[in-house]
Symmetry: C2
DNA sequence: TCAAAAGTGTTCTATCTACACCCATGA
DNA sequence: TCATGGGTGTAGATAGAACACTTTTGA
């Protein structure tokens, strides 16, 4: 899909809004950074092309308003199902809330961003306006969405180092070389499968399944299949300094 | 001040609220966890005793609603000045946003919490309803405020390890033994001034002032005075694992 | 000259990186 | 039997904890 410059705004900003009792009204939306990091070395983010001003035709992150009787977590789940057919995620965590009155040129909108991870083998039918974009080749995005993606990637990079968050990137069983490639796509540098295995094993993150993967067409020793010992987040490496 | 059990609620919960156009109305408030960690070994949090239901007489964190034309950061600054006379902080960072519809029994309130740090030598006049509470002896607090304090302390503990955030705890110049005590109060375990100095020095966080502190009444070698090389947050220790 | 507090030097250990070498498979 | 990819063993580097020892002050 082509990238088109946003045309001029056709609406005027609505400005601060209050009801008759003086209670402020806000639109509060939840924004998702859905990341998938594949053994092919691609780390990609799920985006939606806008059809309305502002930022018409620009890429944006899937998002939607929170209703009064639901939490932000409920809202993000609901909107991901409705807007990009995503009904299953292996991990979600809140990134932060943006409240700059100028972040949306038309409305007063507060936005809370979430990092959402899905396994690299998860595939489903995307709506026509949705598409995967490579994280390291992002075009200019609508609103502050580019910044939010960068924040998400930075958070994920950090958590790869000191938690078992890798479980959210992988299928149930995987080869170490695939995991290393997936990590490398996120970290932005080479990751040695050899050393990664030892690090994760010492921390008790890995479980050997006993199974082996079929070797490729050109031969090679068949890889062992591993799985993560636990599929919920835990801190596996307490910070190095200032330990008791 | 004595701790009194919250009496029974006198108002009914107001429930979901919408205006005539169907736009949801939310109260969005900013909550501050103001921490001060002293060389005496006390880590304390600034609290306000509630005068109204719900949770009347319970301790709570200073907070207040965000107006439509300000950001959350503006709101927290404004409310801290108005409610606890705090007009100067050395660091503030967003912790997270709570949106559970049941978190406030009366209103539909979304709350964004902030970690706020002030130097250990900063003193000022508190209003009568405000007081410092020790972080490791917290009484049951209003709403989910106790959880929020714990989150703030955990965040600060982590950042002490891999950033220069110590600058926000100290006066311009300080003795290493005082810094170690302040760190220890946050971390919850002994911190060796000897080793702390070497860690911070190798990371380039420390600047020697050349000055010396006066020794105590019972003698002892006078301590060198140090200051932090930079008084804004930077990551000084990249995560140990998965480096290039 | 002694106690108290601060600072330095040195050793030990844990953990990560690098790299050589061995293993299992298909052509 | 050779190329290909996977796995193991081991040496080196780094950083932090622990602790003994030295320095500088007041009484």
């Amino acid at each position: 899909m082509s990238q088109i410059q946003a045309s001029e705004h056709v609406h005027a900003p609505s400005g601060p809004v209050r009801d008759e009792a003086g209670v402020a009204k806000y639109r509060h939306e939840a924004i998702a950074v859905v990341l998938q990091s594949c053994p092919t070395g691609e780390c990609r983010v799920l985006c939606v092309q806008r059809t309305r001003e502002p930022f018409v035709d620009k890429w944006s992150l899937p998002s939607g308003a929170m209703e009064v009787d639901e939490s932000l977590e409920d809202a993000i789940t609901r909107h991901l199902a409705a807007k990009v057919n995503l009904t299953s995620m292996s991990y979600a965590e809140q990134l932060g809330t943006r409240s700059d009155p100028a972040r949306d040129p038309f409305d007063r909108t507060i936005a809370t961003a979430y990092l959402v991870l899905i396994p690299w083998d998860q595939e489903w039918d995307l709506p026509v306006d949705a598409s995967w974009l490579l994280v390291d080749e992002l075009p200019p995005m609508a609103f502050d969405h580019q910044e939010i993606v960068e924040l998400a990637v930075a958070r994920l990079q950090a958590k790869l180092s000191y938690t078992n968050i890798g479980f959210a990137l992988t299928p149930e069983e995987f080869r170490m070389s695939d995991l290393a490639q997936s990590y490398a796509a996120i970290m932005g540098h080479e990751v040695s499968a050899t050393n990664l295995q030892r690090i994760l094993a010492r921390r008790g993150q890995l479980k050997a399944t006993g199974k082996k993967a079929a070797p490729g067409a050109e031969g090679g020793r068949p890889a062992k299949l591993f799985s993560f010992a636990q599929r919920s987040l835990e801190i596996t490496d307490q910070f190095a300094t200032l330990r008791p």
